[in-house]
């Protein structure tokens, strides 16, 4: 049962085939069996999860028909949760318990989901391999020697290995989509502003966006129906009506115009991935979609622009972690400066420090125009590229990542790591919705197909992804349990 989609589990609970308590217990058993080898969870909430499951079963018996009622979920450990530690993958917050819930958490609680626990992640969401976590790397369920991608690697691995039915993630430059691709699951980043950021620990405020990681596009739509919406506590959340994202899932792709950016099929893309993606596109074509090559002339600028904007914002966002009010404080500080220096030196890992330094540098007097201002200009160019493209096509498709999951410890050079998100970053810079869905394998490792829509084109993207999952089975493939998980 635990391998089923949310939609299937919901139906099974409605028909009485299984209760939420039974389902929750199955996932908890699975977590206790597999987490030692995967390290996908930082915190597991056995007791409260079962209690929530009991409440859900009761509520269902009383006629509650919410499709997510009683479905066991895991939150990325970046979302603040009352009563459960919120570490953000960092020593800085290794013992932090938030006195308030993130809006996303509140919304799932109101829908009656069961919270199994909090998933591992790159420290402060800074990483593409989940190796920067203070709590150790997450392992890829398809091959335990490989990374799961990052930063939402714990959520992606947990969904892939059936440690939960669905999970939340956040995506600043690809942190939902790239791990979804590496772990063979569905990961959706909504348009910037579609999901509230209140209670989501900030990495880069103008890029961060929460979204679902799950087993199908249909499940992503069900989760989005809960997550999306304006939040008066987040001034950047969009004041736009929320659609029922399941309503248009079954629309045909006949006549759908799919743009293929030629810049995403150049050197650097592995042959196996290219082959799978081209095949996936042919599947669309066979179903009546129209493929059209498009030009995103500034896409090569997206990684450099991102690595100015994101660290700049992060350098300020992470200033609050100063050891004064909460979080790690060094022992026996000599004075204020010593407390700041040692608390932050001890509390943050290398990658976080590197990005704080890059961001601080980029914002420094005399460099601002050359870096931050220029990066913002590039951001507008990139957005314009997409706007132009969407005049001719309905969605844009290509590979999520240039290759499949790489080995743990294989990438030691930060810049090589930063290039991991070469296809996903532009989408964050432009604030667009994007999804990664399974589209094949190379050496038994999953390959992700990336589909991007125009501003607030969530329904279109989910519809295109769902249709692909109707005529392919890639999303149903399960890890061969290498290493015996």
């Amino acid at each position: 049962m635990i391998e089923k989609t949310v939609a299937e589990l919901s139906a099974a609970m409605t028909s009485g085939d299984i209760s939420s308590v039974e389902l929750t217990q199955s996932y908890l058993d699975r977590i206790h069996k597999a987490n030692d080898s995967l390290n996908a969870f930082i915190t597991v909430c056995d007791d409260t999860a079962l209690e929530q499951a009991r409440v859900a079963d009761k509520s269902r018996a009383q006629g509650n028909q919410n499709p997510l009622l009683g479905i066991p979920l895991a939150h990325k450990d970046i979302f603040c949760t009352t009563g459960i530690k919120t570490t953000c993958g960092s020593k800085m917050l290794h013992n932090f318990i938030s006195p308030y819930n993130a809006t996303v958490v509140d919304k799932f609680n109101q829908a009656g989901v069961v919270t199994l626990g909090k998933t591992n992640m790159d420290e402060f969401a800074m990483g593409s391999s989940n190796e920067t976590s203070f709590f150790g790397p997450v392992r890829n369920p398809w091959d335990l020697e490989k990374v799961p991608g990052g930063s939402s690697g714990g959520s992606a691995a947990a969904v892939a290995a059936d440690l939960c039915a669905m999970a939340t993630g956040t995506d600043t430059g690809g942190s939902i989509r790239q791990p979804a691709a590496f772990c063979g699951v569905t990961g959706f980043k909504p348009s910037y502003g579609r999901v509230s950021r209140w209670g989501m620990i900030a990495f880069a405020s103008s890029l961060d966006q929460a979204g679902p990681i799950c087993k199908s596009a249909e499940d992503a739509a069900l989760m989005m129906n809960v997550m999306a919406g304006i939040d008066l506590k987040d001034s950047t959340s969009a004041d736009r009506e929320v659609e029922d994202y399941t309503a248009t899932l079954s629309d045909s792709v006949k006549g759908l115009r799919i743009g293929i950016p030629k810049q995403h099929f150049t050197e650097g893309l592995s042959a196996d991935v290219e082959k799978s993606i081209r095949e996936a596109l042919r599947e669309y074509e066979a179903a009546g979609a129209i493929l059209k090559e498009i030009n995103l002339p500034n896409s090569h600028l997206s990684v450099p622009a991102y690595y100015v904007v994101a660290p700049a914002e992060a350098s300020a966002n992470l200033s609050r972690f100063d050891g004064v009010r909460y979080g790690h404080r060094c022992d026996n500080p000599l004075d204020l400066e010593d407390m700041y220096k040692r608390s932050r030196s001890e509390g943050f890992g290398d990658e976080v420090k590197r990005r704080i330094l890059i961001g601080t540098y980029a914002l420094s007097a005399g460099f601002y125009d050359a870096y931050y201002r220029k990066a913002q200009k590039i951001r507008r160019l990139i957005k314009n590229d997409f706007d132009e493209a969407f005049k001719e096509v309905d969605v844009i498709a290509g590979p999520t990542s240039p290759h499949t999951a790489f080995g743990i410890g294989a990438k030691t050079d930060p810049v090589t790591m930063y290039l991991e998100d070469i296809y996903t970053i532009a989408v964050n810079l432009a604030g667009l919705p994007g999804i990664s869905i399974p589209a094949g394998f190379s050496n038994d490792l999953p390959i992700g197909l990336h589909i991007v829509g125009p501003d607030f084109g969530e329904s279109k993207v989910l519809n295109a992804a769902h249709q692909f999952q109707l005529f392919t089975d890639w999303h149903k493939a399960k890890p061969a349990a290498k290493g015996g998980i």
Partner: protein, 476 residues
């Protein structure tokens, strides 16, 4: 060499909103430490700012009051620095796109001359908390009640040339802010604070000299003294051939001198950048006109009208419009009694003296405008004399009864009964035969003495006109 002083003022006022600039916390003065700091104010991870629109309204109001350009698109920026009373590690302020742009205000100097001083800009920003360095044995306490309070920072052009002008500018600013009701602007409580930039240059030069900044001076008097003191210090250095170090200095009022605040003045790099958690604030002409419609009559306009409508002197009109409350008080009394001159004398004379003596604001006056109106009416209808009115006024300060009740209970009503007055006059004539003879001999001015005697006998209550007439009749 002759030197010219150049002064620029940065004034912070706390906007009198109900809640903080970006959170729902209350902003009452004097609350227990950290009782007005919510999860956003203490910068818990994941919290986000939500802009308080009331602060925008107040800033626009101020901008319109000084004829400033209003920024139709204001942008918030983060100003980054570490300090324990700055929970987020950055202050949210407006760098390049402030809500209020260039404006000006006109001040009247002691000699009656006027000067118009430019205001460069006024921007909205959040306050920091307070560090408490005493009572914590080797540690510091942090109170975040103030953190996130909305401030308006009003920056003048460096075109103030004397300490007196600086004070006149500050007083005018203070008056306008109180008229607008956008801040209580109490310097002693920190809801109005002043940073003073001072530099010297050779007279005739148009290049600015190196300036020093004195932060957080908390009274008009100290601003004046601090400038005098700093100008002298700089003059001494320059005349000895030295140069001024650009730095922040503290003014010590007890010793009347300034001293360097930071031994190593590192140029702080605040690494400003646009605050990504907030959208730019965009307003249109409609919004601006709506705010304009809520503007009260401002002090300059009111003063001009008082001169015009009530025939007051510039000086009297200036005194009576120094606060909005006093102006309203005066106008009410002047209109209802129909005698602006008398009303002006009472309000700026006896009433002001009473308030000063008891250290009261006019809003807390024990004698409200209605009762002063009644008092003046009783003079005009001759129930009491102007002199008795002073006695009644004094009684009114401690007695909330009506004017008529006080006159009645103290028996101060003017005697107009001709029988009683005749008796008084007879007594005076009998008791002062010499003066009566002098009058009869043609010494007209003796009448004043005799009237005075009668008034004294009546304890001031007799109608002096009647007494005068009757005396003359009887001495014919």
């Amino acid at each position: 060499m002759e030197w010219e002083t150049v002064i620029g003022l940065e004034v912070h006022v706390t906007l009198a909103t109900k809640s903080k600039l970006f959170s729902g916390s209350a902003v009452a003065f004097g609350a227990e430490p950290n009782t007005q700091a919510n999860i956003f104010d203490i910068a818990l991870p994941g919290t986000l700012p939500v802009f308080n629109e009331e602060a925008l309204r107040m800033a626009v109001k101020f901008g319109l009051a000084i004829d400033a350009e209003i920024g139709k698109r204001s942008v918030f920026d983060r100003k980054n620095y570490f300090y324990p009373d700055l929970p987020k590690g950055y202050q949210v302020t407006q760098l390049d796109f402030p809500t209020v742009g260039k404006g000006s205000l006109t001040v009247t100097l002691d000699d009656g001359s006027e000067r118009t001083i430019g205001v460069t800009r006024a921007h909205i920003e959040e306050n920091a908390g307070k560090s408490l360095h005493e009572d914590f044995s080797g540690m510091s306490g942090i109170d975040l009640n103030r953190a996130g309070e909305p401030l308006l920072e009003i920056v003048s052009e460096p075109e103030i040339y004397t300490a007196k002008e600086a004070v006149a500018y500050l007083k005018k600013l203070h008056t306008i802010i109180l008229y607008l009701g956008i801040s209580d602007a109490i310097m002693a409580q920190g809801s109005m604070r002043c940073d003073v930039n001072v530099s010297l240059r050779p007279k005739g030069s148009d290049v600015l000299g190196t300036r020093t900044e004195m932060k957080n001076i908390n009274s008009f008097k100290f601003v004046e003294k601090a400038i005098y003191s700093e100008v002298e210090r700089q003059k001494d250095i320059l005349e000895d051939g030295g140069s001024i170090t650009q730095e922040t200095r503290r003014y010590d009022a007890d010793r009347d001198e300034t001293s360097s605040m930071r031994s190593k003045e590192v140029a702080n790099d605040y690494r400003y950048f646009p605050e990504p958690d907030l959208l730019p604030i965009v307003i249109d002409d409609d919004y601006i006109e709506q705010v304009r419609a809520t503007l009260p009559e401002l002090p300059d306009a009111k003063r001009a009208r008082f001169c015009d409508q009530f025939g007051l002197s510039e000086y009297d009109a200036g005194v009576l419009t120094s606060t909005r409350e006093m102006a309203e008080y005066f106008e009410s009394v002047a209109t209802k009694t129909g005698d602006a001159k008398v009303a002006a004398n009472w309000v700026s004379g006896d009433l002001q003296a009473l308030l000063n003596k008891n250290n009261l604001n006019i809003t807390d006056s024990p004698i409200k405008a209605e009762r002063l109106t009644d008092l003046i009416s009783r003079i005009k209808d001759k129930t009491i004399s102007g002199k008795i009115a002073k006695t009644v006024f004094e009684a009114m300060a401690d007695d909330s009864s009506s004017v008529d009740e006080i006159i009645e209970s103290k028996g101060l009503k003017q005697v107009t009964d001709s029988g009683e007055i005749e008796k008084l006059v007879d007594d005076v004539i009998n008791n002062n035969p010499d003066q009566v003879q002098q009058f009869k001999d043609g010494k007209e001015q003796v009448i004043g003495f005799l009237v005075g005697q009668a008034m004294q006998l009546s304890k001031g209550k007799a109608n002096p006109g009647q007494v005068n007439q009757l005396l003359r009749d009887k001495m014919k």
